[in-house]
Symmetry: C2
Subunit: 340 residues, 2 copies
């Protein structure tokens, strides 16, 4: 009846011994308990509890050829995304979806200024069972790496390279941007500008397209656009440029709240009141929109939801429950505040 601390972690053998069964039976009892007598099962359970046994992941992984972990890839070369509330939501979503799973989340972040080569190599190295790619740019080679490695993966945001085998979850950016712009039209605005996102990302591209489509529908001019980089400063610079080139603009659709916030400041110092002189609509509603002056009317980006779905899709594939073949698109709802 000694209670002395084992210095090394208990092994399956010790559990088996303590339970009075063979190692194989113990193993079965621990994994699902198929073809195990109730008594054996109970004995093993007790032994496990008493010894505080946890299976050795490495050993298990070696034979099952499963690592028990999936990667969350953030190939942002300049670390920008990390400062974005987008990442927080993504992380939370993935984390929650993984909770019941006992799968580990391995975070892969690109170094600043680095191309995604190292990450691609890692992914191909078989270190993870699957991957979720969170934000990525044209030309980062991730798609090819994933296809070459036959690694189960799902993208959050439409990949730059479209291919049958690449599954993704995304916001319906075109429709959302269109809706936002329509809202501006409904408000009686006629000279509607946009601050677009980076054009090497599908988000940037799609939101710009939605804006264009809505203006085309309304028969309005589609020349007033400038692109930012999803940061506050980028938004401010773009706004300034728009103001210079189109001093008569009366509305702005910004592809992110952060950029909208930058725009707000520039408009303010230019003496334009919002929404008096100029209406502004942002995108995301991840915290900053409610905190600006005036609070931003915006589109709610269901990041967390998307991340959860992406993870579940990946899990389905890992469990052999089949794989999604079509993209999954979420709508982004309009949130009315005070900037229109």
């Amino acid at each position: 009846m000694s209670t002395d601390r084992q210095t090394t972690a208990p092994t399956l053998d010790e559990v088996a011994l303590a339970a009075g069964v063979s190692r194989s039976t113990a193993s079965r009892a621990i994994n699902g308990g198929d073809r195990v007598s109730p008594e054996a099962q109970a004995a093993v359970d007790a032994a496990v509890a008493r010894l505080g046994y946890t299976p050795n992941r490495a050993a298990r992984s070696l034979v099952t050829r499963r690592t028990g972990s999936i990667a969350l890839v953030i190939p942002e070369p300049d670390g920008r995304v990390l400062a974005d509330p987008f990442l927080a939501g993504t992380l939370r979503g993935v984390g929650h979806a993984l909770d019941p799973t006992d799968l580990q989340l391995v975070l892969l972040i690109a170094r600043p200024g680095e191309h995604a080569g190292r990450i691609a190599r890692y992914l191909k190295g078989g270190h993870v069972d699957g991957a979720i790619i969170a934000s990525h740019h044209q030309g980062d080679e991730l798609e090819n790496a994933i296809m070459a490695a036959h690694l189960p993966a799902v993208f959050i945001g439409r990949p730059a390279v479209e291919a049958e085998s690449l599954v993704y979850v995304d916001v319906d950016n075109v429709a959302a941007a269109r809706r936002a712009t329509q809202r501006l039209v409904e408000a009686g605005r006629t000279r509607i500008a946009t601050i677009a996102g980076p054009l090497d990302m599908s988000v940037g591209h799609d939101r710009l397209e939605g804006w264009r489509a809505a203006l085309a529908d309304a028969g309005l001019d589609v020349t007033a656009s400038a692109d930012g980089d999803f940061t506050l400063t980028g938004g401010a610079i773009a706004m300034q440029r728009l103001l210079d080139d189109h001093p008569d603009l009366d509305a702005v659709f910004a592809a992110s709240d952060l950029m909208a916030q930058g725009a707000l400041r520039v408009l303010q110092s230019a003496g334009r009141s919002v929404p008096g002189d100029v209406s502004v609509i942002g995108f995301d509603d991840l915290g900053v929109a409610a905190a600006t002056t005036p609070p931003l009317t915006t589109l709610r980006n269901p990041v967390e939801q998307m991340a959860r779905t992406a993870t579940n899709v990946l899990l389905d594939e890992l469990e052999g429950r089949g794989r999604a073949t079509r993209p999954i698109l979420y709508p982004a709802e309009l949130v009315e505040r005070a900037s229109v």
Copy 2:
């Protein structure tokens, strides 16, 4: 000379075969190359490159008894931290410090409403070689779990339970808060309130203490304090309460920029101008301080730096390079903007 794709990853055996050496020699060549002839080394290197060999982590881990991964623990029960730029900086810092290491970062996030039990269990399970604990509350049991498991770990932020064996990196919160408050005194303010952080976290506690100390030094009143939860809303609520209880206040030190921002809004709607009627100082300077109206004077929180240091300290211990025994404290510099 066939170039056909292997469907399974190459093993050490195949590398050895291709290089014309034994498995052990190949192994040595791959791990540091000690006691390997130049020719053998070259042959192995070539084989590795040609085959695209990557050591199987599980197999290696099984024999070395090292997992090759460390955990970043975020035991925030309500997911709040995730929305905070603090996490972004921490992540970046840890990530960078890990770059040259080929150690994996495993992210452990508490589920909402959950106590840290599951995480403690995971840590004790020997799944990681070490841990960095990012933000934690009194009573989350992490300290005990870590001490019991003899797991190398470094806290970012002073742990609630103080113990010799618990090493941590932190901002010198007391000194910083004191400096901020002094600045307010220097500006001629005499009725200086504070919006404190959560008091079950050492940060909250320490910054409050700094504020008290400075006021005591100046012989001023120390009754005007209310605590928030590091969120914008929490800051706003606290500010309102302060205004109700101490309508004559002329300065506020908020323990975070987010809370300061909330305070700013309440002050504004109460018709108090900043910095005309009331001076405000925040804490963190992680993006929001520069974006408020007016821009916040604040204390720069060197999160990324801290995270990097914490990681390096952990790495030192893992490499047997000894362990830090005393806490490492960083100063937080005052950043002058326009709210004082």
